[in-house]
């Protein structure tokens, strides 16, 4: 099995040892692969670089960082919705008429836009989660982490656009 290490050893390699591993190596020992503190050190960075937030983004950059950031944002958003959703399902038994009012909110145009966003977060998190699992248990695929990420966006659009249409259609069809 390919390990990404130049001599076939299973130890993580220094991320700057060759061109392939430059800057965005997935093989950084002990450091989150998409977080700073890996290849580019403060010593190699030009002193005239932009202020911190901008440098932070430039520093990490790339598809891996975006995949990680979207996964985290969508995950926390879904967590927040789960809090709300278990509470509203609890109302079915505890206060049915209040539950029906909450459902009217879900069926409203604003509710439908929110559900579309929720579905998008869910779909991205599910697909990228699968991508993470593939790379965790089939390490050779880490080399193709970008291609895998582009792949999940293809699935996201192909599945997500019809899904969004079905959820949003009642807004202009006047059903609800």
């Amino acid at each position: 099995m390919r390990t990404g290490s130049p001599d076939g050893a299973r130890e993580p390699i220094s991320p700057c040892r060759h061109a392939f591993a430059a800057a965005r190596s997935p093989y950084n020992a002990g450091v989150h692969p998409d977080q700073p503190g890996t290849c580019e050190s403060a010593a190699t960075r030009p002193a005239t670089e932009a202020s911190l937030p901008v440098r932070y983004l430039q520093y990490r950059g790339g598809e891996g960082m975006l995949a990680w950031a979207f996964h985290r944002i969508s995950g926390v958003a879904i967590w927040a919705f789960v809090l709300l959703h278990v509470l509203d399902i609890w109302l079915v038994g505890a206060n049915p008429s209040l539950y029906d009012d909450v459902l009217k909110l879900y069926a409203s145009p604003a509710g439908r836009v929110g559900e579309t966003l929720l579905g998008a977060a869910l779909l991205y998190h599910a697909l990228n989660g699968l991508r993470i699992i593939v790379m965790d248990f089939w390490p050779a695929m880490t080399v193709f982490h970008k291609q895998l990420w582009y792949g999940i966006w293809v699935v996201f659009v192909v599945v997500g656009l019809p899904g969004a249409y079905i959820i949003l259609r009642p807004i202009w069809a006047g059903v609800s």
Binding site: A29, G30, H32, G75, L83, L91, L103, A107, I166
Partner: protein, 129 residues
Amino acid sequence: MALYTRSGRPRPHGSGFELAVWYLMRLSGLALFVLALGHFSIMHFIFDPATQSAQWIIDDRWGSVLWRTVDWLLLTMVVLHAFLGVRTVLQDYVHGGARTALTLLLYLVGIALALMGTMAVMTLPFPVE
């Protein structure tokens, strides 16, 4: 041990609690790929919020033990996955005593939510024939 993962959390060393959490996140994630996406599809593509009500849930949606079991499994997996996930987020951004306090609060909210959901799915009356 090499850390291959990209955009996920590197696999922790050893065989302790952290490694168990790492595997649990991936196992529950796989279960949720089916359960959560399936649930969302059923509630939005097959049915629609406009046609749903508390009575509809009692009569149709939760009219059988099978569907209640499926939804209880979804609840279990989602509470595990979501709260352990936010725990990782807390570990990244909060340190010291605040981390301990917030993690404890997080666990309490997670347990309360699991209990509320279990109560909802188990105590709702079945439809009268």
